[in-house]
């Protein structure tokens, strides 16, 4: 049993009661709501004649079903079912008095992008959302947990969730990352090492030199994919990087209140002598850019390493099936594997720093013939920030479509989807069969820089071989753009 970790401290501060089934009732500091998993919960609440107990601790946005073209967003939406979901959310949030960032608000975007960038998410909070990628918010030193719709109903009705305390695993990422290697590569490598179910029953505390060196966007990407490793929550202790990111955000405290709050943030950091249920070390020095070759996020390899034989993997049958689907060859590297689609965005890599990373690769270059390339900012705020710095032009000049904010092709609940057997270089988080909208489609997960490089080459390629075009890119790509 862990002791003195951030997880233990935040849990204790939020515990409401022991429940008869042996679980704890935990107060929810921030409930993020979107259109897909909430309407049924609002319906159940209505059936029970209950009201939302803490609307002031609740924030809503629309992301999964929204079209990402400007034309597509005029109301009513062309897709009647999408329109119905959006209308329900508008009505439900208005009735309950919940703040809602809708299509008419230029801060609308993916819940896990909007929550952090507007300053709603802060260290020492409990954050829930009806979305598995709620683990994202652990980047602030918060406990972020994805929940199902019945639990959303509970949070609406009681401001709390019933939950089991998990074992705390310290994931120590040692070493220094090389050029062209970043947070996405770190987390893909962690999942590759620990497996897609390695984190079941655990919360991951990420630490070590490589984690400390990451900016907030990088930390958000790491924590975002905790769930792909089976860990419902993953977090990073807050530090100066966290506090500086929060300073000046719209819904973060200001002035004296900020300094007072900081004392709380410092107080919930894991103690020096905290006890963990276990500790694993992952060496990130010499790490190459990572690429998924299969159909789960642990089927990953360095871009310069051969794709493994099925017999060398944890689950040979699954690996064989996956390789048949993706048509990759064991023994060969992923380099040169042709792509049809390049997709930038999502709650993993849809932030300003992610697009800046891709822009450094794209500046002065063009997308290969025949490649469909989408750049989908994670929020209206991200989009406007990039546009103010002229970075949208880098994408458009290179041949990317510059879109409006949403989940887009990550899960294809909107107009953006793979078609037929298309192969996609994707900055998203899941490469499951059918995930991007076509059961024959193929997804290769990689960092934003690697997606940009693949777009240019028309094939998976090592971004480290690219001059990152400082000469061309500096004026736009390196402009001070943090919103």
């Amino acid at each position: 049993m862990s002791e003195g970790t951030l997880y233990d401290k935040v849990w204790e501060r939020h515990k409401v009661a022991d429940l008869p089934n042996g679980q704890d009732q935990l107060f929810v500091g921030l409930h993020l709501v979107h259109e897909v998993t909430s309407p049924q919960a609002f319906g159940m609440l209505r059936e029970r004649e209950m009201e939302v107990a803490f609307p002031d601790r609740t924030v809503a946005t629309t992301d999964h079903i929204v079209p990402t073209t400007a034309e597509g967003r005029s109301r009513p939406l062309a897709d009647e079912r999408a329109e119905e979901m959006l209308t329900h959310l508008e009505r439900n949030t208005e009735e309950a008095g919940i703040r809602f960032f809708g299509l008419d608000d230029d801060r609308q975007g993916i819940a896990h992008v909007v929550g952090p960038e507007l300053g709603f998410v802060q260290p020492g909070m409990t954050v829930v959302c009806g979305d598995s990628h709620t683990s994202t918010h652990g980047a602030f030193g918060a406990i972020g947990m994805g929940i199902g719709t019945s639990q959303i109903r509970d949070v609406f009705a009681t401001g709390s969730v019933s939950a089991d305390r998990k074992a705390v695993r310290r994931v120590e990422v040692t070493g220094e990352l090389g050029d062209g290697v970043g947070a996405k590569d770190v987390i893909l490598n962690v999942i590759r090492e620990l497996g897609v179910d390695g984190g079941v029953g655990h919360v991951y505390e990420y630490g070590g030199e490589a984690i400390r060196a990451l900016d907030m966007e990088g930390r958000l990407a790491v924590c975002n994919m905790s769930i792909e490793g089976g860990a419902r929550a993953g977090y990073i202790n807050p530090d100066e990087t966290t506090y500086e990111y929060l300073r000046g955000r719209e819904f973060a405290p200001e002035g004296e209140a900020f300094e007072e709050r900081r004392e709380y943030w410092e107080s919930i950091r894991s103690d020096e002598d905290a006890e963990y249920d276990d500790v694993v070390e992952v060496d990130a020095s010499g790490l190459a850019p990572q690429v998924s070759w299969g159909t789960t996020p642990e089927q990953v390899v360095g871009v310069d390493e051969p794709v493994p034989e099925p017999s060398e993997t944890r689950d040979p049958d699954a690996a064989e099936t996956a390789q048949a689907h993706t048509e990759v060859t064991p023994g060969e590297t992923m380099e040169g594997h042709g792509i049809d689609v390049a997709f930038l965005g999502t709650c993993t890599n849809g932030r300003v720093a992610d697009f800046r990373e891709a822009a450094r690769v794209l500046a002065g270059r063009e997308v290969a013939d025949g490649v469909r390339a989408l750049a989908v900012p994670g929020s209206g705020t991200v989009k406007r920030t990039l546009e103010a710095a002229g970075i949208d032009r880098v994408f458009e000049d290179a041949g990317f479509q510059w879109r409006e904010a949403g989940c887009s092709m990550c899960l294809a609940m909107n107009d953006d989807a793979l078609e037929g057997e298309e192969v996609c270089a994707s900055s998203s988080n899941r490469n499951y069969v059918g995930r991007q909208g076509s059961t024959e489609g193929r997804t290769h997960l990689m960092s934003p820089g690697m997606v940009a490089a693949a777009a240019v080459e028309g094939a998976v390629t090592d971004v480290r071989a690219f001059d990152t075009a400082d000469e061309v890119g500096r004026s736009v790509a390196d402009a001070e753009v943090d919103g």
């Binding site: 409401v16 429940l19 679980q23 689950d315 499951y432």
Partner: protein, 216 residues
């Protein structure tokens, strides 16, 4: 649906707000074997069917893409072949990925009342608890043995005992594990947690008031 008995429920107990749920001590019926590790909730319920404001139609969409050929016809997927079954037999890390409750809702509305497997993804298992679907973890070889038994004896009775944490079939009793919180909740008929948590609302407000960030 089959004539197999449903969950052996006791009288409703506990909640008093229209959310009364039965105690679930055992689930008896027939099985449906579904082989494979890491079956994610996108397979169980493809995202395009999430575009609905209720769960009513989700039973139709359970494993929708996996149940169909390229030309849209039904293939020999277990969810086509074992209609009427209520005990699902799976392998490792079942239900990983997206938190969508649509997945267990789809399974439940198709007819699943209990799931036996090597292991389950956490959010999926929590969602099962919310819906009163029992999950029993058993050793990997036991999960496979159960699947083989069902394949050879599709009409044979299978019983998941929540209290004993066992699955019984063909004269065999296999011990497994139902997570403590789920076991308590199912046996006592308190798997719908809204009422009990709502009764602590004043304490929740006190916790809120003591937190430094809730004035924002």
């Amino acid at each position: 649906m089959s004539d197999a008995p449903g969950p052996a429920g006791d009288d409703a107990s506990g909640a008093d707000d229209g959310a009364s749920v039965p105690a679930i001590r055992r689930v008896a019926g027939t099985g449906v074997p579904l082989r494979g590790d890491d079956i994610d909730t996108d397979q169980i319920l493809p995202a395009r069917f999430l575009k609905a404001v209720t769960f009513d139609d989700m039973g139709t969409y359970a494993f929708y893409d996996r149940r169909r050929d390229e030309d849209g016809g039904r293939n020999d997927h277990p969810f086509n072949e074992y209609r009427g079954a209520n005990v699902l037999a799976v392998n490792d890390n079942f239900g990983c990925g997206s938190s969508r409750e649509h997945a267990p809702q789809g399974l439940m509305r198709w007819g699943v009342e209990a799931i036996v497997g090597e292991s389950f993804a956490e959010i999926f298992r929590d969602n099962c608890k919310s819906l009163g679907i029992a999950t029993l973890s058993v050793a990997p070889e036991e999960a496979e043995a159960l699947q083989s038994f069902i394949e050879a004896n599709p009409d044979a009775g299978i019983e998941v005992d929540v209290r004993e944490e066992t699955v019984r079939y063909g004269g065999t009793t296999v011990e497994g594990e139902v997570p403590d919180a789920m076991r308590e909740a199912l046996l006592a008929g308190i798997w719908d947690t809204t009422a009990v948590m709502r009764s602590n609302l004043d304490r929740a407000k006190a916790v809120r008031d003591a937190l430094p960030y809730t004035d924002d």
